[in-house]
Symmetry: C2
Subunit: 294 residues, 2 copies
């Protein structure tokens, strides 16, 4: 099967799984569920869950086996987007081509929809994911690592803190993105590997791939924010410079950022070479991440 | 040992444990850590963690054994308080006798401090809590149950939704509080029991106790909000009526609410009678919850 069809297959399965998540049938919670489903089903690239599924496949499991955990990762990612878009944070009006959650449902419900995703993600993993207790626990530990002070949240805090200061050394820039986006992408790949029963060494190799993929993803995000249009991106273009964010383009310049993206891509592909099994799909993903236009 | 000293002992151990939680030493995350510690170390009654520790003791474990999980429950409770106090939600300026987190650190950092607590709570449980993988997984499942759409978050949504509508039937009132405060209190008791190796039947008995204790706690909260002063409560008195919240006092009147609190207390004590072992401490807690003045 060629790589494009492989990814399309993962994606279709994931969308169907997410469609089936209803959370509650109680009419009193209808509005909350609507807010959650609005954000969860807004499309998006689904990079994290599909990487989780493909990682499982590379290490010999059926990608469908890890669907609950793959969906959980996407719920957590969705929660972070909802909160990052809030007026008190990045104050973004558009996301994935549609008005942001708080624009449609109000701030209170947006905060709460984000909060609810965390508990629901844990339910998917601890109730619906098959695996040994050790494996499931390892999956939860991955999410714990990537969502706390030394993960997603810490990254967002640093991102905000350095915004508008005109500062931003390369070390801080790398730390922001390793925490903010890298941690969850890495966890996604590791979770697929863990649930497929991959060895610790295999987990390390896929981690390195995912780490570099995460950097590449962010560098390209920064490049696109600086060079693309709002229409094409489905979110506000040019907002990084406007807000004075610390970005790869800001620190290294446009050419420097492009070089850095190429280097991350090369290192990601190199890590794949050390993995036995069919890594063509993961390699194609890395190329897609580098060369995507939105 | 008398009950008062027992609870004081749990509390002192917990405070010392929380004091030791630093989350990060990185200067770039100092402000986030400050916001988290400001809220986490603001005192408070510590009902949830101490009930978790006492539940463990009743079923034969050393209370110190469950400290990481007890602390995790308190972190999650703290996160819910921070978010509930936000301007977009209950818009409260005072909590536990001090300015609320967003008043001191700003809205963005308050949202993020809340978010970070969830990941950190999971780390405490999955990295620092001793127990079999099955037990730890059961603990995570408890938290998943009590923090999602059908737990804390759903309760807060319903609470907000009915605020100011003048409505609020008894069924909705009970559902709001079973979700909003009851779920996590029940989980706290269950987690202590699970980690002590209690049987399913024992877990059920302690659940029933905790469920009634949770109701009693909330009813008394509503009574105090209607009858006490801001100075004594350490949070805004009279705010429920001002905002048109659905409360036990609103639905049943002050006398009716007092009767309901007494009935919950009686049912809680009855559930304890079915538990073998020294439940005098838990009984005293129920009495304290019923008769507290702040």
């Amino acid at each position: 099967m060629d790589s494009a069809r492989l990814w399309e297959g993962h994606r279709r399965r994931l969308e169907a799984y997410l469609q089936g998540l209803v959370f509650s049938e109680d009419p009193r919670l209808k509005r909350l569920v609507e807010a959650m489903r609005y954000s969860m089903l807004a499309g998006g690239k689904r990079v994290r869950p599909t990487i989780c599924m493909e990682s499982a496949r590379v290490f010999g499991a059926d990608p469908a086996h890890v669907l609950p955990s793959a969906a959980a990762v996407e719920l957590i990612h969705t929660y972070s987007l909802i909160h990052d878009d809030l007026p008190a944070m990045d104050d973004d009006d558009f996301r994935r081509g549609r008005p942001t959650c708080h624009k449609v449902f109000g701030e209170a419900l947006a905060i709460l929809a984000g909060d609810a995703f965390f508990g629901e993600a844990l339910t998917l993993i601890t109730v619906h994911q098959d695996g040994t207790p050790e494996q499931i626990l390892e999956v939860v530990r991955e999410l714990a690592d990537s969502t706390g002070v030394n993960g997603m949240v810490g990254g967002q805090v640093m991102d905000m803190m350095y915004t508008g200061t005109g500062g931003g050394d390369p070390e801080t820039l790398h730390m922001i993105h390793a925490f903010k986006t890298g941690a969850l992408i890495k966890s996604s790949a590791r979770i697929g590997a863990i649930l497929a029963g991959a060895s610790v060494e295999e987990q390390e190799n896929i981690s390195e791939y995912a780490r570099e993929l995460g950097f590449c993803f962010q560098i390209v995000d920064d490049i696109l924010n600086a060079t693309s249009t709002t229409e094409r991106l489905g979110k506000s273009a040019g907002s990084d410079a406007e807000q004075g964010k610390v970005t790869f383009v800001g620190v290294y310049g446009l050419d420097g950022a492009r070089r850095a993206a190429d280097e991350s891509l090369a290192r990601a592909v190199e890590a794949l070479r050390r993995i036995e099994g069919d890594t063509a799909g993961l390699e194609q993903l890395a190329l897609f991440v580098r060369h995507r236009e939105h």
